[in-house]
Every structure is written in structure tokens, then in C-alpha cells.
């Protein structure tokens, strides 16, 4: 279902061709990072810390180096020293520990050998002497007076007055507007609630993997799966102390990222091993390593106070947000502060957000980082207020929703946005009034993500036969190649299947930022459109030459150069006809677009979750799910729906079962998909996706990124539905059967014996 404002009619944009990379993937031919093997390659294995917090006293690699098949062993000493003031200090000491290990699974050394078995045996023979330090595993432990410090140098950034002593609080972020006390004084109803959430993993199916081949000339080539190969290049260069130009990164197909592949783990180790051994080195993480050592999303403690007038107008909001980003300073708190009150008109507010370090793996981005958690708190509180005031929860949100011109938390006014339209789409959907069965409940919740622009490059090459190749620098993690082809088809007037969209390596296309912030179809799409428009100018010029007329008398219409001058009739020229004569009219036809994209339109989503709770076991089953989201313009509606459905699936898993479980020493107890429970297909119904289209004025086709917003509303939608079914408000994640049954039992529900 699509709800659309009036928009231009397009020939290709908005259609649903089979994705260009689809057949290769469903037939198993697509090559992911671990599929590449090189002649003479070695296998690299990482030696990881068994302790959550320890000082490295010594590392003895001599036994390992003497073992059969071992060609290279490296430690932190093989990399340039890095100072805490370095911009990427955290990333550098995360990829390989220097004097301290900060979490269980932290890399301390790496081994390359002829076979993986030999490398594993040698890794086990690397002798690391640790001085075990007390581990800090929770926010409360980290903030307690006298807590062990993870980083002796860490002075809280943003503290006012400035911090005088180091602590485990890395950052403080504050935003405010209006007069908080006056706002609460005006309120007829004030509620304050606290929430806790646990770290969760992105759960991509493909583990991190790479092959690095370093030549005698000091240049290296890396094949890897990532969300941004230019970032792999620069980060690897930083760790090695090399110039970027010595590194070429060739992107493999990517088996899921969700934000977790916006950083690096293995590549510098593989390059260093390869340089030392003089051979290509392949490294592939196990699932266990992925869980222990790669990016979870932050855990939190959140406290929010809201004031509302009896007529339903929100008047005051006070948020105190604590995020833990694992063992390093992180952006969680900042992003929480940027999202917590953003969707609603709250004239008086204060937000204070802290980032706290603990001895767990370093957080990485995960779809709309931080926002699902602030939404969990806000949207369940709004549900409570709406019920208290006797207002329909969607009408209550419409009354308070931000619209064009309203100021954001940080003061800038919103451009045209589609929040109200998303709310109306769900309110008017038949599922909003569908009957519920026994023990079933319904919850509604909204979500917001700001989306970003950043740098993108694209090259369009016309082939001799009139087809086109579109090269961009954006790894395709959600169907973006199909979107690039559709926009290019629309611009050039070439059939979408005559366009080959490819992701170029770091030496084949201009610099392009990471695929993050739902930016690929928005920003890289703009670069493609820019390149295509330049190409059309070129095509018109070539056609003018071929016809012997003035270029100003050539229009580009439906894939053809059409003469519009008054000098009689001239047959239109197709792309194929122009490219066939390219040698005589000026040579190969190629055009590029490179830009810094601005105006990424914020994404809004509204979800409706119907679920059933077994009151005797606490098991929750989602029975119906309806999700609206503003896509601006859906370039390929199937992949917009896929993004919405994928966000829902991950959000439902986050709500119900996903969490890291550590023992008292900080050792992860559930590093497998058996005990780290992402939803399986049978856990979810078919998700009804409603695409709302309120075009983004900053994009030539009106695109808003859609990759992230869909994960924001599910947690509160599920929580509100559980409340509707059971009368229990659950303010701690995950809402597992144990927790739900406990809530029902404490609430005097059935089977309270």
C-alpha cells in the first residue's frame, strides 16, 4: 500500500524491477568476502583476551613463531604508537590492544600460517601475561565513586565546569529550550519514568572477513566486506601510519551490515601480517568472535519526565540519558539527545546525556543508533499519557507532532516532513480497528531518524552498444544498486536492465563516504543524477554534431536526442546510435558526479503491533504488524518495503529476546545465534508496509533515506501492545518470557501462585 502526494509521473522511478544483483545472490554465485581465495594465501587468526580488563605485562611470540607453517606473528608493537589525543585513538587501540585489554575478546596479537589449523595452534601458543584488573560491567559500576578507570586519561568532554579528574564518563551532551520549570508548572499531568536496556548485536549473517595482499612496492590490496571501502582504506592507513594511496580496497558483496560494518577490525592486521610474511593473508571471523569483539549497539539507563496539559498539549520534557558504548567514548548519548524529543513540539525542555565506558566490546552503529531506545522511553510514556487523558494515541501524537517550520531540538526548522501523514496512514488503515482475540493487545508507536548526506561520487560510462554502466562508491546493503539504475534509467531514458550498476573500488571511482545514515539512495543517488545530467548534455552535443545543428535545438526526450529547431524534420537519435558514432564525435562517453549532499530529509515512521501474550508463560507472539514510513519518493518500492520489514524484524527481536549475557567476570555467555535470539522467520507475521510519500525538496526525485527509521518504533510498539494485553508496563529490555511473566505475576495476573 502506498500513500502518495501528487508527484511527477515517472517511467522507471517507482517501478519494481528484479534487482541486478539478485540472480547471483539467490543462485549462490555472488562472492562475499570469505569466498575469495588467492594462490599462496596464508590464514590469519587473532589472539584475543580472555579477560574483560587487564594490563598486558608481556607477550612472548617465540614459541608460536617456531611452529610448523607459521609465517608471521604480530602484536601491537608492530603498529605505530598512538597518542590518546589522536582523532582515531579509540579505533586504533580497539583493532589491536597496546598496553591494556578492555574487554573479553580484545585483539592482542595475530598469527598467519599456511593453514587455518596451524594458525590456530600458533595463536594458542602465543604467551600473553596479564595483570587482571577489576572489570567494570555496568553503568552503575562505571559511575560509582572510586570505580576502576578504563582509560587513565579520560576527562569528561563537554563537562561544565570542566572535569578535573579522569572518570569513566567520556562525554556529556546538553540541549535545552524554553523554561523547564515554567513548563512543568503549566502542566496538568507530569509523569517520570525510568528504563534500562541491554546491548544488542546487529546480527548480520556474514562474519567480518578480508584478504590482504601486500607487494614488494609497499602497496597493498584489500578485498573485504564493509559498508564503506574508502573508510576501510583510511582507517587501515591510519593504523599502519601509511598514506591512503598505498592501499586499494576492493569491495566484496556484503552479507548484512546494519551499521556494524561502518568500522574496521581485521584489515590492518591482515595487511601487517601480509607485509611481514610477503604473502596474501586471509582472515575470517567466527560467529563467536563476531559476538565477542564487534559492535553491539549501546545499553542504556534512561529517565524522562514529561509535562502535558489536560487538553493534550505537551509543555515540558526533561531527559537524563546514560548510554554505554562499551570500552570507548561513543556517540550514543549525543545521538540519544538528538532524537529523544525531536518528533514532538515540546516548548520547554532540557536534555542531559552521558556516555559511559565499561569493559565490553566497543559499540558500533546499528540502524538509527540510539534512537530506538529514546523512542522506547518516549513512546511508551506518550501511550501512558494518552490513556490517562482519554485521547486516542494517534490523535494525541498528531496534536503534538512536528511539522514543516517547527524547530528541532537543536533549533533548526524542519523542512517539509511526513510525520503527520504517517500517523494518519496508520489511523486510517483497517488494521487500526481490526478485532483482537483473547490475550491480544495492540500498541502504536512512532519513530524518527534524521538521516545524513555526506560525500558521494558516481561515474556513468556509456558502452559501445548503447547500454550504460553506473559506477558508485557506495556498498549496496539494501538494494541501492537497483535504485541507482532506476534513477539513471529515468535520467537517460535507457531501459533499467540496460544499465549495469556496480560498486567501484577505491581506485575506480571518486571518494565516497560510508553507506550509513540511510544515505546511499539519497546522496549517492544525487551523484548519479548529476552524472547522468552531464551525460545528457554531452549526448545532446554529440547528436547536434551528428545532425549538424545547434545543440540548443536538441532536446533529450525519452532516451532520444530530438531536434526541435525549425530547419525541417530530422530523425531522432538514440543512445545506441550516438555511442556507435562516438569515435567520430569526440570519443568515449563518460560523465561523473561528485558532491557533498545536503538536505537529507528526516524519516518518520509509525508502527502498529498486535500481539498475543500467553499469560501463564509470558511468551509473546506478534500476530499482526503494520508499519508506515515516509520514503519521500520510493525509487524501488519493494526495497523500501524490505527496509521497513527488516527494521521491524530487528526491532521486534530487540524488544523481546536479544541481549548480551555476561558472567560476573565480563565473559560473554551467549556468543551464538542459539542463545543470542534474533527472530526466526516463523516468529513474525507478514509485515504490512505502508509507504508514505512526502517528497524531500532537497533531492531531485524527493528521496528520503529509509534504511534506519523502521527500527525505531518496534520496541515501544511491542511494549505498548504488551501493556494493552496484560496491563503491565515493562520498562526494562528485553521483554523476555521471564520478564513478562514476572510482570504479570507481580501485577496479580493469572497463575500468580
Amino acid at each position: 500500500m502506498t500513500v502518495t502526494e501528487s508527484k511527477p509521473s515517472y517511467k522507471y522511478v517507482g517501478t519494481r524491477p528484479v534487482r541486478h544483483d539478485g540472480l547471483e545472490k539467490v543462485t549462490g554465485r555472488a562472492r562475499f568476502a570469505a569466498d575469495l581465495n588467492m594462490s599462496g594465501q596464508l590464514h590469519g587468526i587473532v589472539v584475543r583476551s580472555p579477560h574483560a580488563h587487564a594490563r598486558i605485562v608481556s607477550i612472548d611470540t617465540s614459541d608460536a613463531e617456531a611452529m610448523d607453517g607459521v609465517k608471521a606473528v604480530i602484536t601491537g608493537d608492530d603498529f605505530p604508537a598512538v597518542d590518546p589525543s589522536h582523532r582515531q585513538y579509540d579505533m586504533c587501540i580497539n583493532v589491536i590492544a597496546r598496553d591494556k585489554v578492555l574487554y573479553e575478546g580484545h585483539a592482542v596479537a595475530a598469527v598467519a600460517a599456511s593453514t587455518r589449523d596451524q594458525a590456530q595452534a600458533a595463536a594458542a601458543a602465543v604467551k600473553v601475561e596479564y595483570e587482571v584488573l577489576p572489570a567494570v560491567l555496568t553503568i552503575d559500576q562505571a559511575m560509582a565513586p572510586g570505580a576502576p578507570l578504563l582509560h587513565a586519561h579520560m576527562m569528561t568532554a563537554g563537562a561544565n565546569p570542566p572535569a578535573e579528574e579522569p572518570s569513566n564518563i567520556s562525554n556529556v551532551t546538553r540541549f535545552s529550550g524554553g523554561e523547564l520549570d515554567a513548563g512543568f508548572a503549566e502542566a496538568d499531568l507530569v509523569i517520570e519514568r525510568e528504563f534500562t536496556t541491554q546491548p544488542v548485536h546487529q546480527g548480520y549473517i556474514e562474519p567480518h572477513a578480508c584478504v590482504a595482499d601486500t607487494g614488494q612496492d609497499g602497496h597493498t590490496t584489500i578485498w573485504c566486506s564493509s559498508q564503506g571501502h574508502f573508510n576501510v582504506r583510511s582507517s587501515t592507513a591510519t593504523l599502519l601510519g601509511w598514506e591512503n594511496s598505498r592501499i586499494r580496497v576492493i569491495p566484496a558483496e556484503i552479507g548484512g551490515g546494519f551499521g556494524g560494518k561502518t568500522t574496521i577490525y581485521l584489515e590492518p592486521l591482515a595487511v601487517a601480517l601480509s607485509a611481514k610474511a610477503g604473502r596474501p593473508v586471509k582472515m575470517v571471523m567466527t560467529r563467536d568472535e563476531v559476538f565477542r569483539a564487534t559492535g553491539p549497539a549501546p545499553g542504556t539507563k534512561l529517565r524522562i519526565k514529561l509535562g502535558v496539559k489536560s487538553d493534550g498539549d505537551l509543555v515540558a520534557g526533561d531527559a537524563y540519558l546514560i548510554y554505554t558504548n562499551g570500552a570507548y567514548a561513543g556517540p550514543g548519548g549525543l545521538l540519544g539527545a538528538m532524537t529523544v524529543f525531536e518528533s514532538y513540539k515540546i516548548p520547554n525542555f532540557e536534555i542531559e546525556a552521558l556516555d559511559v565506558v565499561i569493559n565490553t566490546a566497543r559499540s558500533a552503529a546499528y540502524r538509527a543508533p540510539a534512537a530506538p531506545l529514546t523512542a522506547y522511553a518516549m513512546e511508551t510514556m506518550l501511550d501512558e499519557i494518552a490513556e490517562e487523558l482519554g485521547i486516542d494515541p494517534i490523535d494525541f501524537r498528531i496534536q503534538n507532532a512536528v511539522t514543516e517550520g517547527d524547530p528541532s531540538t537543536m533549533g533548526f526548522p524542519f523542512a517539509r516532513i511526513g510525520f503527520v501523514e504517517c500517523l494518519e496512514a496508520v489511523r486510517d488503515h483497517p488494521n487500526y480497528k481490526a478485532p483482537l482475540g483473547p490475550n491480544q493487545g495492540r500498541g502504536v508507536a512512532a519513530g524518527y531518524w534524521f538521516n545524513i548526506g555526506e560525500s558521494s561520487s558516481a561515474t556513468v560510462n556509456l558502452n559501445e552498444d548503447g547500454t550504460a554502466t553506473v559506477v558508485t562508491g557506495s556498498p549496496d546493503i539494501g538494494g541501492s544498486r537497483a535504485s541507482m539504475a532506476l534513477m539513471a534509467a529515468e535520467e537517460l531514458g535507457i531501459d533499467v536492465y540496460d544499465i549495469r550498476p556496480v560498486v567501484g573500488d577505491t581506485e575506480a571511482v571518486g571518494f565516497t563516504d560510508v553507506t550509513e545514515g540511510s544515505r546511499a539512495t539519497f546522496a549517492t543517488g544525487m551523484a548519479v543524477v548529476e552524472a547522468c545530467r552531464r551525460m545528457v548534455v554531452e549526448l545532446r552535443g554529440r547528436a547536434a554534431k551528428m545532425m549538424g545543428v545547434d545543440v540548443d535545438d536538441i532536446d533529450w526526450m525519452d532516451g532520444q536526442a530530438v531536434y526541435t529547431g525549425s530547419d525541417g524534420e530530422k530523425a531522432p537519435l538514440s543512445v545506441a546510435e550516438i555511442t556507435a558514432k562516438a569515435k567520430r564525435t569526440g570519443g568515449p562517453l563518460t560523465a561523473t558526479g561528485s558532491l557533498e549532499a545536503h538536505g537529507a530529509g528526516p524519516g518518520f515512521a509509525v508502527h502498529l503491533c498486535d500481539l498475543e501474550v500467553d499469560p501463564e508463560t509470558g511468551v509473546v507472539r506478534v500476530v499482526r504488524y503494520t508499519a508506515s514510513q515516509d520514503a519521500g519518493t520510493a525509487i524501488h518500492p519493494s526495497y523500501v518495503e524490505g527496509q521497513i520489514q527488516g527494521g521491524v524484524a530487528q526491532g521486534v527481536g530487540w524488544a523481546l529476546n536479544e541481549e548480551y549475557i555476561y558472567d560476573s567476570d565480563g565473559v560473554m555467555e551467549n556468543p551464538s545465534f542459539l542463545d543470542y535470539r534474533v527472530p526466526v522467520a516463523s516468529d513474525l507475521p507478514m509485515i504490512d508496509a505502508i509507504i508514505v510519500e512526502v517528497p524531500n525538496p532537497a533531492h531531485p526525485y524527493g528521496v528520503r533515506g529509509v534504511g534506519e527509521t523502521g527500527i525505531v518504533p518496534p520496541i515501544p510498539a511491542v511494549a505498548n501492545a504488551i501493556y494493552d494485553a496484560t496491563g503491565c508496563r515493562i520498562r526494562d529490555l528485553p521483554m523476555s518470557p521471564i520478564r513478562v511473566l514476572d510482570a504479570i505475576t507481580s501485577n496479580g495476573g493469572s497463575n500468580g501462585s
Binding site: 590456530q120 594458542a124 567466527t286 542459539l674 542463545d675 518470557p737
Partner: protein, 298 residues
């Protein structure tokens, strides 16, 4: 940390007779048998010592056969649960046991997993042992001293521990045709809908008399103690009574009381105890309903 399967030093053997398999095991204490290897390979990946020889039992016809002489079914210890689930006779006579068999892993795992492996792996959370036990299944065991037959309930003795002696393997299971108006049921609690390990499992088998009262009852619980737990108090509460109302309440209370669970990453003591009672009660209800339907049909 070693995470991966290191197959380099291991050997593979595929005997085609029980005697050959027993000989192989007797000659090498570090040999390990496997049927589907759906437990063994993850265990080795998780760092369990590698066996010297992996002895594949799937090539022994007797271990994969499913048959009946009219009064007793004989099911090979390595018969794939996919075959068991597709067997009309077993599905009609032991619906709960067949349901339990169908809950193991995924479709792919089903083509490998077996009752013998599920029982001999001796995981307290295994899905089929409670159902084998309420149906009085017997395990035929072969070893250096010949064959012996024991109650399936006597095979597992603790987590990862069995009563199997050196060189012994389970060859097949015997299941007597159930009496009239008899049916079983199995329920398990997992947070997801599939691909998970039981937090609690409950099997029940009920025989009704002509008046609808319970003539015989067997209840067994999984994942709530080191081995499968029978619940004699619940069974006693049912005998001679209609399986409803207060009697079911007594079943629930007795089942909860019979548990001896642990706190771990998959569940808490309090949760497992409470849910064991609930599932036992529900399993009894379902089994009784099925038994009553059989009565209606006959």
C-alpha cells in the same frame, strides 16, 4: 581461543554392521560414535577434545530402520527424525513423541537428528527423552558383551552422562503399541517459535477408561533437573479422576514441585518451576483430549 573444527587429525569410519561398530569402539577409547552429529560437531567446535575416530552409525541398516510386528514398533537409534515424523503409524500411535521429534532443530537438522543421539547426548533439555519415557520406550544396547535391553529412562544419568558402558551403543528402540484410549502430548517452552533449546519440556501420556476417567498416566519433564523427571504425585492425582478442574491444578502443583532446575542463561529457577507446572497441566489436557477422541472413533 580455538573456535574451529580441526578435522586434520581425525579419522572417519563407517561400519555397516553393529558388530563392526562395537569392535571399533572397543579398540579405541577415544573413538566417538555419531548418528547425525548435530550435537557432536558443535561440541568439537566449542573446544571439546577431538575424537581420534568418528564412527558414523548411519551406514548400519538396522540403526536406520523403522518397523513394527503389530504389537511392538522397532525404531533404529540413528533413524532420522524426518523419517519418524513422516511415519503414519508412529504419528497415529505416539503423536506427542512424533511432535517432540519434529521440534529438533530445522528441516536440515531433521534429516540427520535421531532418537538415539538425542538420548545418548544426555542433554537435560533434549526434546524426545521425556516422550520416550512416558511411552515406556526400551533401548536395545549392543556392546562387547552382546545385547541388552533397558528402559529408555535408565540411559541418561546426568548432564552428558549415560549408563552406556565402554564400547556400547544404542541400536534401536522398542515401543509397545499403546492400549485403547491412550495418547501422548509434548509441549516445550522456547522464547522463539523454533531453532531453540527447551527452557522447559513436558510430556504426558494418558489412558482413559470407558467413563473418561484416567486409567493410567505418565508425566515427564525435561530441562528442569539433571535428567528427565517423572512426576508420580501428578500421575497419582489423575488416576481414577476426570482430567479437569482441581485435578489439573494438582497436576500443575505436583509438576512444579517435582522440578530441581538451575538458573542459567536460558531461564531462572522460579520461571522454570512455574512453567513446568503449566506445561505439564496443558500436556495432560491435550493427551487426554486425544485419548478421548480415540474413544469416540472406536
Amino acid at each position: 581461543m580455538g573456535y574451529d573444527l580441526m578435522l586434520s587429525a581425525m579419522r572417519y569410519a563407517s561400519p555397516t554392521t553393529v558388530a563392526e561398530a562395537v569392535d571399533l569402539l572397543g579398540s579405541d577409547p577415544a573413538a566417538r560414535v555419531y548418528a547425525g552429529a548435530t550435537d557432536l560437531i558443535p561440541q568439537i567446535r566449542a573446544g571439546r577434545p577431538e575424537p581420534t575416530v568418528m564412527v558414523d552409525l548411519k551406514r548400519i541398516d538396522r540403526l536406520c530402520a523403522i518397523g513394527s510386528n503389530g504389537s511392538t514398533y522397532t525404531v533404529g537409534a540413528a533413524a532420522p527424525t524426518a523419517d519418524i515424523c513422516g511415519h503414519d503409524g508412529l504419528a497415529a500411535d505416539f503423536p506427542g513423541l512424533v511432535e517432540a521429534s519434529g521440534l529438533i532443530g530445522s528441516d536440515q537438522i531433521q534429516s540427520r537428528s535421531s532418537w538415539g543421539g538425542n538420548l545418548a547426548n544426555a542433554s537435560p533439555a533434549a526434546d524426545t527423552p521425556p516422550s520416550l519415557i512416558v511411552n515406556d520406550a526400551r533401548a536395545v544396547i549392543a556392546g562387547p558383551g552382546g545385547e541388552r535391553t533397558v528402559a529408555a529412562a535408565d540411559v541418561a544419568t546426568g548432564p552428558g552422562q549415560t549408563s552406556l558402558g565402554p564400547g556400547e551403543i544404542i541400536v534401536e528402540f522398542e515401543l509397545d503399541q499403546p492400549p485403547a484410549r491412550t495418547a501422548d502430548a509434548y509441549l516445550r517452552l522456547i522464547p522463539r517459535t523454533e531453532m531453540d533449546i527447551a527452557v522447559v519440556g513436558a510430556a504426558a501420556r494418558i489412558t482413559l477408561d470407558g467413563d473418561g476417567n484416567v486409567a493410567a498416566a505418565a508425566i515427564a519433564l525435561g530441562a528442569v533437573a539433571p535428567t528427565v523427571v517423572r512426576v508420580p504425585d501428578a500421575e497419582a492425582a489423575l488416576i481414577g479422576n476426570l482430567p479437569s478442574g482441581e485435578v489439573l491444578g494438582a497436576v500443575e502443583a505436583a509438576a512444579a514441585a517435582a522440578t530441581n532446575p538451575i538458573d542459567d542463561k536460558r531461564g531462572t529457577v522460579a520461571y522454570r518451576r512455574q512453567v513446568a507446572g503449566v506445561l505439564a497441566r496443558r500436556a495432560v489436557s491435550i493427551a487426554a483430549e486425544r485419548a478421548a477422541q480415540q474413544g469416540d472413533q472406536s
